[in-house]
Subunit: 347 residues, 2 copies
């Protein structure tokens, strides 16, 4: 069977949107022999995530991850099965994941880049390791816990932007599980609003493309916004912050509305929003899940337990086929996904 | 018996050091009748703290606290005994504290500004409520826990600057209690170094006024600095940060070396230090204890338990008499204290 890989075909233009044609599929060639310390894997699922937009730029990447290189294989979060191993920690049939998984149908990685996973944690639903029981889940959980100051019994209202996305859909539920008395989501379609309220237990949801966000927030959060889980930035966030309470907390998780712009991260705020933060003593600290590796193991156990107990509902949008990586990424960046956008590469 | 109060007599000149004469003692006049909701207290102990330097400026104050006004009574942390009360929560003889305690021998405060305290928590040593079982203790404890990423078994080295001060002397001990394998203090005299190592269990101590900090850090922290509890800022901090490990964490608690300068808080860093933080992915988040009020109650219980068990040693420098407030503040700003600087106003 032939192997395939996805390489970076071109970069988006400065301040431009990515397009599926920024990626190119070509035949892959695996090494004939496995070197010591290396592991051969078959790819089950690959992840596309908003942060990847930053890795498409020539110069910046993210603070933590370098830019992807033209005509080289793209990498990101992936999960798969070990087919052959020359690393002591892995044997054939193991379920493994990595944040440096090449976009290939089969791949050879250094064992040190892989984590072994227990499929029982997710009742065999391996794709969850890229979402609710993976990086987006940890980002939601630790973001809420490290930056949210959520206090049971304190009658707090949480607002989540990008609420129907991989991270936002979990963050709102976790806000409730951890003790917020009300959770309101902001998203980009009526269908997403319906899912948030009917399936995930959000108290209400706002379609920013069709509704007056400020007015709807005043209605749904009459005592103000105590905690704001921000995935989007830009004018939506300015509107939310203007309705925050004294001593409130912004969880600065992502700023997807700004990723196509040539600005540093986090992007600068308008003076009026800075003034609100200052006068109301609102914290707004950047949250980076990679800074909390010491809490990842316990976090994944908590997430998997909630998922198995049915307390944390998981939404996924799954596209099939490695050749759809570019389409899936483009669609996710435009809000085409409900929950975690996944590409299924093999069964 | 006559009552006395301390008012702000003058402000330090721009970029200047405070002097005792910035404060003036005068006779106080208590209201003849207590209004509803008010409480009359006798002052036992008053606190002088580095942050107060910012309240001496005309324009800035701190983010959280407004500037003190000329010829008006100065306020800060205080502890005392209720003498008379027209507030339901307080009765004569109660031990109470406030962060808005007027620098007066006796005072009348709104009850809502007071907290009732249990003297058994500190075995009757009321001054501890201004130090180890008060704001400096909470700052050390929550600073370490919220920003330090201390992980038992991870073989971490912590460095504390301002290590013989109210907060630093506790932060180093808490770093050890929470799991650091090594704690090194930086302070300004050989006597302080001796106290840190002999009395508080620091592994080593560096006198920055007499020793080469970079060289002594290389000696005492051969694997690098994983966690840095920063009370001082300036060149000492640049030197420590240069020896931090990949993925390390700065707890940005205070910057006393910069408080006499007319710069915003936190003060800007040299480009070379910013570069180290960036390339090594070192976090450096500002820590403000007032942002964590939901964790204060549990924190004070933890601190008082450690103190009673003898696990957390308490250092105090006590000066007597309200008329010495200015002298005590000036001395503390120049490093004259070992541990918490306290003024005892009455027995």
């Amino acid at each position: 069977m032939l192997d395939y890989q996805v390489v970076l075909n071109s970069r988006p233009r400065k301040n431009g949107e990515p397009v599926p044609e920024n990626f190119r599929v070509e035949e892959a060639c695996l090494p004939a022999d496995l070197n010591p310390g290396h592991v051969q894997v078959r790819t089950l699922y690959l992840s596309v995530d908003p942060y990847m937009r930053c890795r498409m730029n020539e110069d910046t990447g993210t603070d933590y991850l370098s830019p992807w290189q033209l005509s080289e294989v793209v990498e990101g979060g992936g999960v798969g099965i070990v087919e052959d191993s020359r690393h002591d920690s892995f044997t054939e049939g193991d379920t493994v994941a990595s944040f440096s998984w090449p976009w290939q149908t089969q791949a050879v990685l250094e064992g040190k880049l892989l984590q072994k996973l227990d499929p029982q944690l997710v009742d065999g639903r391996h794709s969850y390791f890229l979402g609710a029981v993976g990086m987006p889940g940890l980002t939601a959980l630790l973001g809420v816990r490290e930056k949210g100051h959520v206090t049971p019994g304190a009658n707090q209202t949480m607002v989540v932007s990008g609420a129907a996305g991989a991270c936002g859909s979990l963050a709102g539920q976790i806000g409730r599980l951890d003790g917020c008395s009300k959770v309101v989501g902001i998203c980009g379609s009526d269908e997403k609003c319906h899912v948030l309220v009917s399936d995930l237990g959000f108290n209400s949801a706002i379609n920013y493309k069709r509704q007056d966000v400020a007015a709807r927030l005043r209605e749904s959060c009459p005592t103000g916004v105590d905690v704001y889980f921000d995935n989007v930035g830009g004018s939506i966030s300015d509107t939310v912050i203007a309705q925050m309470t004294e001593g409130g907390h912004v969880i600065l998780c992502g700023q997807i509305s700004q990723y196509n712009k040539d600005v540093p991260y986090p992007p600068p705020l308008p003076a009026s929003t800075q003034e609100v933060l200052h006068t109301k003593h609102i914290t707004r600290e950047r949250f980076t899940v990679l800074n909390y590796t010491e809490k990842h193991e316990a976090g994944l156990l908590q997430l998997s337990q909630w998922v198995r107990e049915g307390k944390l509902k998981v939404l996924e949008t799954v596209v099939k086929g490695l050749d759809n990586m570019g389409v899936a990424f483009h669609s996710m960046m435009k809000g085409g996904n409900v929950g975690k956008q996944i590409v299924q590469v093999s069964e």
